[in-house]
């Protein structure tokens, strides 16, 4: 009996202390967030960036943190880094009005005029661009419950209304499922990367001696195809391709694309 009491007390103590620890940690990163905000307010943009980066790297990745990082880099005139972080934020908070305003403002300052073509899927599933993977997943989850729920009701009570309702839910369930699949694929295969240097040469091969095919400027978004010995093979929407030094470009996909099951890409 005494053993059980001791065991119970130990378990309660562990739960309590682990809770306190979690709270203490929470306060820790909240303090860091406030300090970074204060640094930004006082014009110490590099300190603010360091604070936000520390938050992002310690597992507190958050659309708003990336947005603030983007603002910090913008203030330091690092347009590439600013757009990179705004795009990272957009994966997580795609409908944030401030973010979209600042991203548009930052994009206006890019020197290269590259238009992103709209495919059939982007047009047909136009809502995917303004929803995060989490939101699509939640939406599909709700439709899933409704669809199987109405089928379940039909097992016990068959009537006209639940027949038509089940048809409606079937259509919505299919759309939701397809949206989720497409969004998952989009996030999984996101190969976008941002040019970070003021001007870079795009070469015909992964060697500095290779022919310069064209030049790109800071902030331009390219598609990364593959990497080789510190070089990235990149592609533009108009099918131009070439090699660029890896340090001049950074992929937007960090490990933001943690899937709802907690798995990383």
């Amino acid at each position: 009996m005494r053993r059980y009491i001791c065991l119970t007390i130990t378990i309660i103590a562990i739960i309590l202390f682990s809770g306190l620890d979690a709270e203490a940690q929470t306060n820790g990163w909240e303090d860091l967030f406030f300090r970074a905000n204060q640094s930004f307010k006082e014009g110490h943009y590099q300190d603010a960036i360091d604070g936000y980066e520390q938050l992002a790297q310690t597992g507190h990745e958050n659309g708003h943190i990336y947005y603030n990082l983007g603002n910090g880099y913008f203030r330091l005139n690092q347009l590439g880094q600013a757009i990179l972080n705004y795009e990272r934020a957009r994966i997580l908070i795609p409908r944030d009005a401030d973010l979209n305003f600042n991203l548009r403002h930052a994009r206006d300052q890019i020197q290269d005029a590259i238009a992103e073509p709209q495919g059939f899927i982007q047009m047909a599933f136009f809502w995917l661009d303004s929803l995060s993977l989490q939101e699509v997943f939640w939406g599909f989850g709700i439709l899933n419950v409704l669809f199987w729920g109405i089928l379940l009701i039909r097992l016990f009570h068959r009537s006209e209304w639940n027949y038509y309702l089940s048809l409606v839910f079937l259509v919505l369930w299919l759309i939701g499922g397809t949206s989720f699949g497409l969004k998952w694929y989009q996030v999984w295969t996101d190969g976008r990367a941002v040019i970070l240097k003021k001007e870079v040469n795009i070469l015909s091969g992964p060697d500095i001696q290779d022919t310069v095919l064209f030049k790109l400027h800071e902030g331009t978004i390219v598609h990364h195809e593959r990497s080789e010995d510190g070089w990235f093979l990149i592609r533009l929407p108009d099918k131009k391709r070439g090699w660029v030094e890896a340090e001049a470009v950074e992929q937007i996909k960090r490990d933001l694309t943690v899937l709802p099951g907690g798995r990383h890409n």
Binding site: W29, E30, F33, F34, N37, F40, H44, D47, A48, H60, E61, N62, G63, H64, I65, Y67, N68, N71, G72, F74, A89, L92, I93, D96, D98, F101, N102, H105, A106, D108, S132, Q134, F137, W138, F140, G141, N144, V145, F147, W148, G149, L151, L152, L155, L256, T257, V258, L259, P260, G261, G262
Partner: protein
């Protein structure tokens, strides 16, 4: 270099702590020389040097601490202090210290622990602040102090700074004093009885060992605490209404002592550009009452008001603060403009009269717009004029990003994983499995019901055959057995059964008309026997019935 006193007012028997801080150096060439200390006994409390690192910048400093013991009552200006650093003489600010008579009454001995309250002044105007001072005199060690302030309608207490601790003397005995000051503001006139403040604490009574030993130290002393609550004396505050005489029109109710400053930045611009006019109202009093000033309509200048910024400051003398109001002025045409002064009235508690303060008239020089800008402006007017008279498309004056997100709730939204994980996957899987399980259970249940009925039917035929083979069955028994067989075989619940009904039932279940007729005839014979009074007699049909049932069973299958 700064000079600070721990409080602005003290009694003759108190000690006051004064700190002279020199920043930017860790030592001075000379000790500070202090002016205005003729009415005090001064005791040095030591020197401490400090180094602070803020944002990578190193700040060094040295603090000189003094304990002042007043010799007489009055108001004294202490300072400025002077010190030589690297051959250069620097001066501090000066502070005012008021020394009043001791509050003690000579007849009452209040023991080793008591709470004293004082109010200064005891008569104020509405919205003026009085200082409510609480002093805890103690000779024993106390802890866990909590304070309950008196509550009264229309009275507001605001704590002024942190509590101060010092030594004092009461009735010839030395006490440690903890002093807390509050600003007391009343929103309505009247005589207010301020009930006693209550202070609860734990009083520790030392139970040290009698002989001195290694452990005869406060750290090792054994003390026991008992909870004690003490109360201060009640006080009375007379709040006078603001006088009607001399009250300016549009008086906002502001009470205190204020000053106004204004400036225009830049004072020379081009037409279409903006200049910022800033008005700063600062002073001592309840600054929340400062109204937002309104800049009148200006001819040929568009005025955009910014959100005013209120800054409240609380020091040992009471409430103070400032309100900063800004306007963006965009002149449409070149020329010399006069920005009129702004005024505000308040009741001056020092002079006990209403005062009106005004900002100076400011000048704005506006140069003509540059040519390129003129053409853009014309384009806007010609090309982008929207519907309706006098409407134009909003012209962008600048481009910039929006500010960072600073709300703490931002940290909890837009995260990468959200709830995620198992919960979401279960959300997808569970509804399907719930449906599938229910479907299968329902199907199994139906199948079971059918097989139970079939088994029961088979059993019914067998039971009837066995009963007939026993022999010596009466017509009543045989009729009941056939009815039971039909009920169980076809899952019926009939209480009585005519021969025609029985024939119809078996025909509806696939039995041929001949066999049904045989059943009808047999039942008719049994019925005849019952109705002719031979129901209890042994019937000779016991051998035919099993064959008939066998035939029915065969045909049903």
């Amino acid at each position: 270099m700064t000079l600070k006193l721990d409080r602005p007012e003290a009694t003759l028997l108190d000690s006051i702590t004064m700190v002279v801080s020199v920043s930017g150096t860790r030592k001075s060439d000379t000790q500070p020389t202090l002016k205005g200390l003729e009415a005090f006994n001064v005791r040095t409390g030591g020197t401490s040097s400090r180094i602070e690192i803020i944002n990578g910048k190193v700040n060094a400093g040295v603090d000189y601490t003094y304990a002042l013991q007043p010799k007489k009552t009055g108001t004294f200006t202490i300072g400025p202090a002077e010190v030589k650093v690297k051959g250069k003489t620097i001066k501090s600010n000066a502070e005012t210290l008021t020394i009043v008579k001791s509050i003690q009454s000579p007849d009452v001995d209040r023991g080793p622990l008591f709470l004293s309250a004082a109010l200064s002044p005891k008569q104020i105007f509405v919205e003026e602040q009085a200082i409510y001072t609480l002093k805890l005199f103690r000779q024993t060690r106390v802890g866990d102090i909590s304070l309950g302030l008196p509550e009264a309608e229309h009275l507001t207490f605001k704590q002024l700074g942190k509590p101060v601790e010092y030594q004092s003397v009461y009735k010839g005995q030395s006490y440690q004093v903890l002093e807390v000051r509050y600003a007391l503001i009343s929103s309505r006139e009247g005589i207010y009885g301020i009930r006693p403040s209550r202070m609860s604490m734990t009083v520790f009574q030392s139970r040290r060992k009698s002989s001195r030993s290694l452990f005869d130290d406060p750290f090792f002393s054994f003390s026991s605490g008992r909870p004690v609550t003490i109360a201060s004396e009640p006080l009375e505050l007379n709040v006078l209404p603001l006088p009607q005489k001399g009250r300016p029109t549009g008086f906002s109710g502001l009470v205190g002592n204020y000053k106004i400053k204004s400036h225009l930045e830049p004072s020379k611009i081009r037409a279409g550009e903006s200049a910022t006019m800033t008005v700063l109202l600062s002073g001592r009093g309840y600054v929340k009452r400062i109204p937002d000033l309104k800049l009148p309509e200006l001819e040929k200048i568009k005025v955009y008001a910014d959100q005013p910024v209120l800054k409240e400051e609380i020091d040992s003398k009471g409430l103070a603060g400032s309100k900063t109001m800004k306007w963006a002025l965009v002149p449409e045409k070149e020329g010399e403009y006069q920005i009129p002064s702004l005024s505000i009235s308040f009741f001056d508690t020092t002079g006990k009269q209403y005062r009106v303060i005004k900002s100076p008239v400011l000048s704005l020089s506006v140069l003509p717009v540059e040519k390129a800008q003129v053409s853009v402006s014309q384009d806007v007017i010609k090309g982008h004029k929207t519907d309706g008279p006098g409407k134009h498309e909003v012209k962008e004056l600048g481009h910039d990003i929006l500010p960072v997100h600073t709300s703490i709730k931002d940290l909890h939204s837009g995260t990468r994983s959200g709830i995620g994980g198992l919960v979401l996957w279960l959300n997808l899987i569970i509804p399907f499995f719930a449906y599938a399980a229910t479907f299968l259970i329902q199907k199994f249940h139906r199948k079971t019901t059918v097989s139970v009925a079939a088994a029961r039917a088979r059993k019914a035929a067998k039971a009837l055959t066995q009963q007939c083979r026993k022999g010596e069955l009466s017509s009543n028994d045989l009729t009941s057995s056939i009815r039971r067989y039909l009920n169980e075989r076809f899952d019926l619940s009939l209480g009585s059964l005519t021969p025609d009904e029985a024939a119809d039932i078996v025909v509806s279940r696939g039995v041929s008309a001949t066999t049904a007729e045989r059943l009808r005839t047999a039942l008719q014979e049994l019925e005849d026997a019952i109705y002719t009074g031979k129901g209890q007699e042994t019937c000779d049909m016991g051998g035919d019935i099993p064959k008939l049932i066998k035939q029915i069973e065969k045909e049903i299958r």
